[in-house]
């Protein structure tokens, strides 16, 4: 048998708990992506990939958080189903990393989320998706 058995009342991952708090008091939790990656041989395409449906007339907040022992910082890129980048929490020109991105969605569809740590470094983090007003 595979799978992890949780006991009643077992506490959740503390990083997810604190990251949910970082999302703000009015954010309503939807989903989280727990990302743990070793150092990449070379920085390139984002390694952690997932899909998620996003719906028109909804404002989503993507909050990225890092574990203390993480060497790199968690960054997110989202592409739509035509492979067009709609969100990037990292601006390679300025080197700026945004801890959260609000996305006002006007096109319903299934989107491709990609996470990695800056410069392909080793890291542990979580991306929390919430709805905000």
């Amino acid at each position: 048998m595979s799978g992890t058995i949780l006991l009643h009342g077992q506490t959740s991952d503390p990083l997810i708990t604190s990251c949910r708090m970082n999302a703000g008091p009015n954010a309503k939790y939807l989903k989280d992506f727990r990302v743990q990656l070793a150092k990449a041989p070379s920085a390139g395409e984002f390694r952690y990939k997932a899909q998620m449906s996003l719906w028109k007339n909804t404002k989503y907040r993507f909050t990225m958080c890092n574990a203390e022992d993480s060497k790199g910082k968690l960054i997110l890129s989202i592409k739509d189903d035509t492979d067009k980048v709609v969100i990037s929490s990292y601006d390679p020109k300025s080197g700026k990393i945004y801890p959260y991105v609000d996305f006002i969605c006007n096109k319903s569809g299934i989107y491709n989320l990609s996470f990695d740590f800056t410069e392909g470094q080793q890291g542990s983090g979580v991306g929390v998706v919430s709805m905000v007003k």
Partner: protein, 304 residues
Amino acid sequence: MRRRLYYLLLLIVFLLSYCRNSSRNSGDFVFPEADSIPVGEAEKLSAEAIAEISKNISSPVEIANLLQLLEVPFSPDYLASGIDANKQTTAFEKAFTLGILGADLGYLNMYEKTGSSIDILSSIKKLAEGIRVGQFFDFETIKRLSLNKSNLDSLLYLSIDSYTKIDEYLRGNNRGQLSALMIIGVWVEAQYLATQVVKQYPDKMLKDRIGEQKIILNDLIMLASPYCSRDKEFSSLCKYMQDIKDKYREIRITYTLGEPVSIEKNGGLVVEQTETSNVEMTEEQLADIIEVTKNIRDELITNN
């Protein structure tokens, strides 16, 4: 022989990829026609396909969020509160009903009607134990948070996380059919909620959300497809899902192009999408969807 098998696998991977990614044609969203993979072959790939698909089915709390945005008041009439968990005898009924009640729980939580969710929580606990996944549903903590009405986000997190863990466990333990049922149950109930509300509150945004379900409908059907010939219950479910798909076939979803606009705000980034999706659905098509959704939902919970 080995080479034939290789080409067959290649073809299946291509078909799955086509079904998942190439449903857009000339700017419109259309159902892929190559969605009927032979049952035996689909079963071989189901674990991987289900893992991917199950994660991107929309959450019922997003429908509830839209209703709140439209200032639609809460109504207990939409809930399946008449369901008696003790009357669900087969694993099929238990898993499907677990999904139905999960969506109801999301609706109650979003409207902070958490004091009245205790009965539903008890039924969820019983159903989860009935398919041996009760260990993932943190009943006591969710009940405490519900009664305290203190922290909505934590309540949403624990409720959604419990369902996610149940889903992952079932898929990881060769019980993917129950995971598929639970996910389809969640979707059916959220769709029922939206279609019942739209009768009283015929808002364009809500109508569009109902029409946009076409985007994920094929994924839901693919979730169930490996099990359609498993037994009579599954065969009926698959037929029902096809009935819904038939009602959606002529609904058009078109797209207008645009580049996202980004601004920095309070240390974060705000991105507004200017590209839009647009739903073209007649009142008659909507009426058909409302009817088929109600009929199927009622048929699947008739045990009560």
